[in-house]
Amino acid sequence: MSYDPASLEGVPTHGRERIERARKAESRGFFTSDLTVNEFLLVRQAGFDPLGLVVGTSIYHIGYQQSNWSQNQEMDVLTQAMYHARELAMTRMEEEADQLGADGVVGVRLEVGRYEWGANLAEFIAIGTAVKHREGELHRAPNGRPFTSDLSGQDFWTLLSAGYRPVGMVMGNCVYHVAHQGLRGWFKQIGQNQEMPNFTQALYDARELAMERMQAEGEQAGAEGIVGVQLHERSHGWGSHVIEFFAVGTGIVPIRADHEIPQPNLVVTLND
């Protein structure tokens, strides 16, 4: 997908006004953020200043795809729709960050919401805090976009002090139709303990595809590795036989050769 740092496509009038105001306020050192106090202090300690909360959203109509009743298969139309919608939301958030002159976005949350008023609609929301390096060191992703990361402020600080930096969130998904079992199969298993290889294959393959796609995206972004991978399973109202598997994590690259961390000590926290 093409990326234009100056683009405000899809951002409503109020959004543009907000960005404009935020940019003016930036010179006075004012910012908004959804960081906690600890996260704020650690992000600053890592050499970054928060600039403002950035959001990208996309309400997407998810098309219909006919599935074969008795067939395990990927619903590629739905897979692409879900992926594209997330990509739109992420891109808009990155563009907003660029408007603020940010190097990247930390603490990104990527959510899918459904509303009663739209049966085939889903809202994809990406939200995070735009940050900029104080000394102007380059921290962008290789493709020129601001870096994104779903790591917390604490994790961000820890990662940087260990000689790594995030390049971008990487994701992969797969919408899969699980076959219905025929009557003959049902009679064969009645009253018996046994594994169901066809169901196992369906769930296994779907997860495998989602993870493989995420891995490919990480390789494309030039990441050395992916940390904090989460695997979500949801049916998004398609009925119980159609499931989306969504894998998301943060790709990281080294910023120096040694990654030694000081030997940790055992501690007792004084929090409850």
């Binding site: 604490q154 303990n193 294959q201 997860r207 990441a223 590795g225 940390v227 994590g249 929090n271």
Partner: protein
């Protein structure tokens, strides 16, 4: 433009390609199902892991940043996420004694616990096979989740997922060691001089028929007195003893010195019965237990002295 109903050469070629791809996908699917039926891995997973082993460029992991750094500190390098899954059909439990549920005391529902234990073993076995393919020394942070789906009556899914790691600069071990400990616990354990030996896990499901005493105690008349329901207490103890006994035997087989990181889940379900002229309430107790068997590493491992801190997280 081609005439109605007749395809140009290109279109025909395209159609043929598409059909061939579909047939290939179906063949792959069947091969996967056959492999799974024999307790193996689906073809897609095997392919991905062989590829990862041949071209070790990038790692994937569901380790948090802290876990990632600690696992590295302990001398390990993450390779890839590995997983296993098994969807399992639970058979119908035939009860000893005459009519369904009635007329007998407590007993283990072996059909149900057997199904859970076998499904979990299959899912963990596949995770182990994936780790072997990836050339791992260990799998850390293994999570075992149970799922049930609307589309599958009487079926359960056991899913396992974890991060395969290998010792930096050494030939991989012949058998990867599985552990459900987090990266933090893994590091602490190694530092304190213990090595994980593997995951131990068991499920037991017990049916307890309400005795006369219990029935009287729980009806409107008996409700006045305080008294222990001894049959339910005993059933609970039996279920727990059975599950714990199984994990203890598993740990003994690996010659472990102990079990840590124990996760115990308990569920109970009431069964309402019509006894003809009345009704009674029986109970089904389920215990799931899982932990990591550990063994001491020979040598001197001084215990570190903890400091006091106020954390920033």
């Amino acid at each position: 433009m081609p005439l109605f109903g007749r395809k140009s050469g290109d279109e025909k070629q395209q159609g043929d390609d598409q059909r061939a791809a579909q047939e290939q996908a179906l063949r792959d699917q069947q091969a996967s199902i056959d492999s799974l039926a024999a307790g193996g891995l689906p073809t897609q997973a095997t392919r991905r892991l062989e590829e990862t082993r041949k071209h070790p460029g990038m790692f994937t992991s569901d380790l948090s940043v802290d876990e990632f750094l600690l696992v590295k500190e302990a001398g390990f390098q993450p390779i890839t996420q590995v997983m296993g899954s098994s969807v399992y059909h639970v058979g119908f439990q035939r009860m000893m004694g005459g009519s369904r549920w009635a007329g007998f005391g407590s007993q283990e529902l072996t059909m149900v616990s057997g199904a859970m234990n076998h499904a979990r073993a299959l899912a963990l076995g596949r995770l182990d096979q994936e780790a072997r393919l990836a050339g791992a020394d260990a799998v850390v942070g293994v999570r075992v989740t149970r799922g049930e789906y609307d589309w599958a009556a009487n079926q359960i899914e056991f899913q396992t997922i974890g991060t395969a790691v290998r010792l930096t600069g050494r030939e991989p071990a012949s058998e990867p060691t599985l552990t459900n400990l987090s990266g933090q616990d893994f590091w602490k354990l190694l530092r304190a001089g213990y090595a994980p030996r593997g995951i131990v896990a068991a499920t037991s499901v017990f049916y307890v028929a309400a005795s006369w005493v219990t029935q009287n105690a729980t009806n409107w008349l008996g409700g006045v007195y305080n008294q222990e329901l001894q049959d339910f207490t005993a059933g609970l103890y039996q279920a727990r003893a059975s599950a714990m006994g199984q994990v203890r035997r598993q740990a003994a087989e690996t010659r472990a010195g102990g079990i840590v990181g124990m996760v115990i889940e308990r569920h109970e379900r009431e069964v309402e019965l019509d006894t003809g002229g009345g009704s009674r309430t029986d109970m089904i107790f389920t215990f799931h237990v899982m932990g990591t068997a550990i063994t001491p590493i020979p040598g001197d491992h001084p215990a570190p002295n903890p400091e006091f801190v106020v954390p920033m997280s």
